[in-house]
């Protein structure tokens, strides 16, 4: 993988949920910027892919949306975690942690040996 990494399917949803949890309600552009920042600008997000992902999460009932006004007084659509979204985030995060932990076990000992 290069310096700037593409986001692969599935993980984007988790990032969105986590970001919404830490930041509270946020609009699409803000979310995109925040995700890039959090990744330490390692991720190069194609903003266009964010919206179908948001739509999917909304259809699944993990987030809800409503129109509001941004900090710069622009009309924007704000996304917010639902209860189901909180649950889903816990579950997905735990799964992800487990997966990485398992993978880490495979990758680290190879170093030591």
């Amino acid at each position: 993988m290069g310096d700037k990494t593409d986001v692969w399917q599935g993980t984007l949803a988790l990032m969105v949920l986590r970001t919404l949890e830490s930041m509270g309600p946020q609009h699409g552009y803000g979310l995109a910027r925040r995700i890039e920042q959090t990744s330490g600008d390692l991720l190069q997000l194609n903003y266009g892919t964010l919206y179908p992902a948001l739509l999917k999460l909304e259809q699944e009932g993990f987030i809800s949306s409503s129109w509001g006004t941004s900090e710069n007084n622009r009309k924007a659509k704000f996304y917010e975690l639902t209860k189901a979204g909180h649950r889903q985030l816990k579950k997905a995060a735990a799964e992800w942690n487990q997966t990485t932990a398992i993978l880490a076990r495979f990758l680290t000992p190879a170093h030591e040996a």
């Binding site: 699409g28 552009y29 903003y47 266009g48 699944e60 924007a76």
Partner: protein, 906 residues
């Protein structure tokens, strides 16, 4: 769960495209605005800021599209598009659509009708019963291997001793009169054993069925009746308080205890009964002696049983056989050598289904044939359409449509056509299903036949299956063809037919297939018609013309035996005096009729039967006028006369037929010999010429007659014959008037010319022949249409070529010949294939037989071989002529092409 939520949300998205599109456009707008603001703050020029923002977005249109894909269900959306577009295309070509839809409606309609019948007769013979798959018919088996009904004592033994059955019940269909004397209705019902409903598993919709305390064997103890839903609604206004009311049946009051559910029509497939009465009321209702209930000879009950869960039919059959054989030994005087067997309900030889099963199978086969032709025809039409639309398809390809999408478009249109056809076909199904009644022979059977024509799930599922099958069968070839459309072929106007050759080949194959199938149908129709005709030519041995036959149900008027005989005597006297009447007779059985024929086990003085020889000989109980009226000659001895009566000093006599005489008295004169039956000795006084008794195709069987006055019993039927000088129907009103004059309570219900009535024995053959005839014509017509369309198209395509030929000096005659020869070439290919198919088919169909009048006797539907090559040749010649005609129409157009005109259109 969350997938479901998402699915529902996307489904909702389908219905509000504008609002959601607008919503997302606004969101995207605000996204870009914020991004541009930030870029400007970062020092970019407004134009560059906007450019960068769009790049990071990955394109506004792409984003919108991927958002839209996620928002709705793209496949449904494109399906809706396909359907919409399909509709538009179909509406634009009304003539093409009408032809295709009508063709499909014919194919799907006839198949669905045939399936409705088959479903009603074979697959779900009884409605409203629990688990019909475990129900079986119980038949006694004579030493000769024939199937016969059961006696009441047999039933009691079966009921009390069989362990592998959940119950055995018996039933006997009867005509009953309901209401007060002078305005009684005749209603058909069943006299049933008390456990009848519990064995069938029928639950009441009102009141109750028979209680186990009513299962008993005490004659006259249960004056109760269960009525059908149909009767309840038609005659009792669906009165909810009907339970407890009484019905006057055969002049006896019976209490209604329950109403059967709407789906239940009794224990005979395709037949609807309205009343069910415990069998023990038989002596009261019909004036039958109670001793008959104890007589093992008195076999008139149809058995129906339920095999226990987990028991195979073989095991059940085995148990029944062992028991029946033990019974036969225990009652050797009456039942020696008898056995019993079970069979699926639809195999039962009693009732209409015995006649229907064979013809229905053939019908289904022919329907499939017609459906295939229909599919070939529609495929052909679509191929032709596809050629016309080649330009449209190329344009769509050029604009980026996938080939799969084009295929799908064609298949969608095909499905639309099939669906429209199916709708039309299904709408016609109830009417066609009801036609089954008109196909039944006249007489009581016709009134009894009731087919459940309400659309039911099985038939619906079958039709949907047919619809999809037809759509695929008719759409696959055109769809594949379309997917091969070359991009450039038709975009430029001058493009010559590139793929046309292959397409024409495909269409030719389809037409040849149609011709082949049509030949099969035509040969089939020919074979059946010939079989029917050759049977018709058989001499029945009696003269059925100019005879009016009427069946009386005197039991329903509460007549005693003496009263019945008196009634016959008085009616004869009165009718003989009527103008136009030349002869009168009455008997128990009607020759070549539908009702089972009865027999008696005989002992013949001076004849030692071979071991296991069947001594059950068919008989009829006749008045002295019977043989003369039927024109059956007495070849030896004398006819019965009025002195052969019930008085003690007149000895019992009988007349035997020639076969009887030949078989039992090969070397001596039968006259004067003594024969034992019904517990007494009869003296043979005459020999009558052989005639046909059960069906026209039967071989010679021994048969005998006994005098009405000596042997008529209360459980026998009464058929009354009037021979007239002219049309037999002309004396019907006289018969009605005279009957009323004797007793206003007796009504003449079933009066038909004997000629028509005995047509019953021809019925299965007639049915098969007429169905084949109708469907064969449909098949031939469809094939002709297909051939015509291909030839017309071929000519249209070659207009220029023909123009050139004619400009170079070809004569119109040459052109005509060329086109017709092309058509005949196609036909010949089809004929060869069809002949092979038809040969195979005639082998298979030749084996299909039908059952007639009980006894398990079967007869073939088709005549035996001989004359077949002639039918094949005739069918082939006919099809060739038709093909030539179908090709000649466009050929004439081709021959009249003006060369200049043709070349100018270039």
């Amino acid at each position: 769960m969350r997938q479901l939520n998402a699915f529902v949300a996307r489904l909702r998205g389908l219905f509000q495209p504008q609002r959601l599109d607008g919503d997302f456009a606004a969101e995207l707008e605000s996204h870009l605005a914020m991004h541009i603001d930030e870029n400007i703050r970062a020092g970019l020029s407004p134009a560059e800021a906007r450019r960068q923002a769009l790049i990071r977005l990955g394109g506004a249109e792409q984003t919108r599209q991927s958002h839209r894909d996620r928002r709705t269900l793209p496949w449904i959306e494109s399906l809706v598009q396909d359907i919409r577009f399909g509709f538009r295309m179909l509406l634009r070509n009304r003539a093409y659509t009408a032809v295709a839809v009508l063709t499909l409606a014919i194919g799907i309609g006839v198949s669905a009708t045939a399936f409705t019948w088959i479903n009603g007769v074979l697959l779900q013979p009884l409605g409203g019963v629990a688990d019909p798959s475990r129900l079986v018919t119980v038949e006694s088996v004579t030493p000769g291997g024939a199937w016969v009904p059961n006696s009441y004592p047999d039933f009691v033994d079966f009921r009390d001793h069989l362990k592998l059955f959940d119950g055995v019940a018996v039933t006997r269909p009867v005509a009953l009169s309901v209401g007060r004397e002078d305005h009684a209705d005749r209603v058909w019902g069943e006299l049933v054993s008390g456990n009848f409903f519990s064995v069938l598993g029928v639950m009441p919709q009102q009141g109750r069925m028979f209680l186990s305390s009513e299962y008993g064997d005490t004659p006259g103890a249960f004056p109760i009746v269960v009525i059908s839903d149909r009767y309840w609604r038609a005659h009792l206004n669906a009165d909810p308080a009907v339970v407890g009311r009484t019905l006057r049946i055969n002049q006896h009051e019976l209490t209604i205890v329950g109403v059967a559910p709407p789906a239940f029509h009794g224990s005979m497939p395709v037949t609807a009964f309205d009343l069910w009465i415990p069998y023990m009321q038989q002596p009261v209702l019909n004036g039958v002696g109670t001793w008959m209930l104890r007589d093992r000879h008195n076999r008139n009950m149809l058995g129906i049983a339920r095999v226990k869960q987990g028991v195979t039919f073989d095991q059940a059959q085995q148990e029944l056989r062992v028991l029946a054989e033990r019974m036969a030994q225990a009652n050797a005087d009456v039942s020696e050598g008898m056995s019993a067997t079970i069979m699926p309900l639809w195999k039962s030889p009693h009732g209409p289904q015995g006649l229907l099963v064979g013809p229905l199978r053939i019908l289904m086969g022919v329907c499939i044939l017609v459906l295939l032709i229909v599919c070939a025809n529609v495929a052909n039409l679509q191929l032709a359409r596809a050629t016309v639309r080649e330009k449209e398809f190329s344009a769509r390809l050029a604009l980026g449509a996938g080939r799969i999408r084009l295929c799908r478009q064609v298949l969608t249109e095909s499905l639309l056509l099939a669906f429209a056809g199916a709708l039309l076909g299904v709408a016609a199904t109830p009417f066609m299903s009801r036609a089954l009644r008109y196909l039944m022979p006249p007489g009581p059977m016709q009134q009894l036949v009731a087919m459940d024509t309400r659309p039911n799930l099985t038939v619906l599922a079958f039709t949907v299956g047919l619809c999809v099958f037809a759509a695929l069968a008719a759409g696959i070839a055109p769809a594949l063809q379309v997917s091969r459309t070359s991009l450039s072929a038709r975009l430029n106007e001058g493009g010559r037919t590139g793929s046309a050759g292959r397409r024409n080949r495909l269409r030719s194959v389809l037409v040849a297939a149609e011709v082949a199938l049509a030949l099969v149908a035509l040969v089939g129709a020919g074979l059946f018609a010939r079989g029917f005709q050759s049977t018709m030519r058989i001499d029945p041995g009696f003269e059925p013309n100019s005879v009016l036959l009427s069946q009386f149900y005197l039991n329903t008027s509460g007549y005693t035996l003496e009263q019945r005989k008196e009634f016959c005597r008085r009616l004869s006297e009165r009718m003989l005096g009527a103008p136009g009447v030349t002869d009168i007779a009455y008997s128990d059985g009607v020759p070549l009729g539908f009702e089972p024929s009865w027999w008696e086990e005989l002992k013949i003085e001076g004849y030692a039967p071979r071991p296991n020889e069947n001594m059950n000989i068919f008989r009829n109980v006749i008045s002295p006028g019977y043989l003369p009226l039927m024109h059956i000659p007495i070849v030896e001895g004398r006819n019965f006369n009025e002195q052969d009566n019930e008085s003690d000093d007149s000895p019992a006599v009988m007349i035997v037929n020639e076969s009887f005489a030949r078989h039992f008295f090969p070397n001596s004169d039968p006259i004067g010999h003594k024969v034992h039956g019904w517990g007494s000795w009869f003296r043979i006084v005459g020999v009558a010429k052989d005639s046909k008794y059960h069906y026209l195709g039967e071989s010679k069987v021994p048969y005998f007659y006994v005098p009405f006055r000596q042997l008529f019993r209360t459980d026998m039927s009464l058929a009354f014959y009037v021979r007239t000088q002219g049309n037999p129907e002309s004396v019907l009103s006289t018969l009605r008037a005279q009957t009323r004059a004797i007793d206003p309570n007796v009504t003449v219900y079933d009066a038909v010319p004997l000629k028509e009535f005995i047509g019953a024995s021809l019925y299965p053959q007639k049915l098969a022949a007429s169905l084949m005839g109708i469907l064969g014509s449909v098949a031939v017509l469809l094939a002709a249409v297909g051939l015509y369309s291909v030839m017309a198209y071929w000519v249209a395509q070659r207009t220029q070529e023909i123009g050139v030929r004619m400009a170079l000096g070809a004569q119109p005659g040459h052109v005509l010949r060329m086109v017709v020869m092309q058509g005949l070439k196609l036909t010949t290919g089809g004929l060869v294939a069809g002949a092979l198919l038809a040969l195979a088919m005639s082998r298979v169909v030749g084996a299909v037989s039908f059952t007639n009048s009980g006894m398990g006797a079967t007869a073939k539907l088709m005549g035996d071989g001989g004359g077949e090559p002639l039918i094949f040749a005739a069918a082939a010649v006919f099809l060739c002529a038709l093909a030539a005609f179908a090709a000649w129409l466009p050929a004439r157009r081709a021959a009249s092409i003006d060369p200049m005109q043709a070349l100018r259109t270039e």
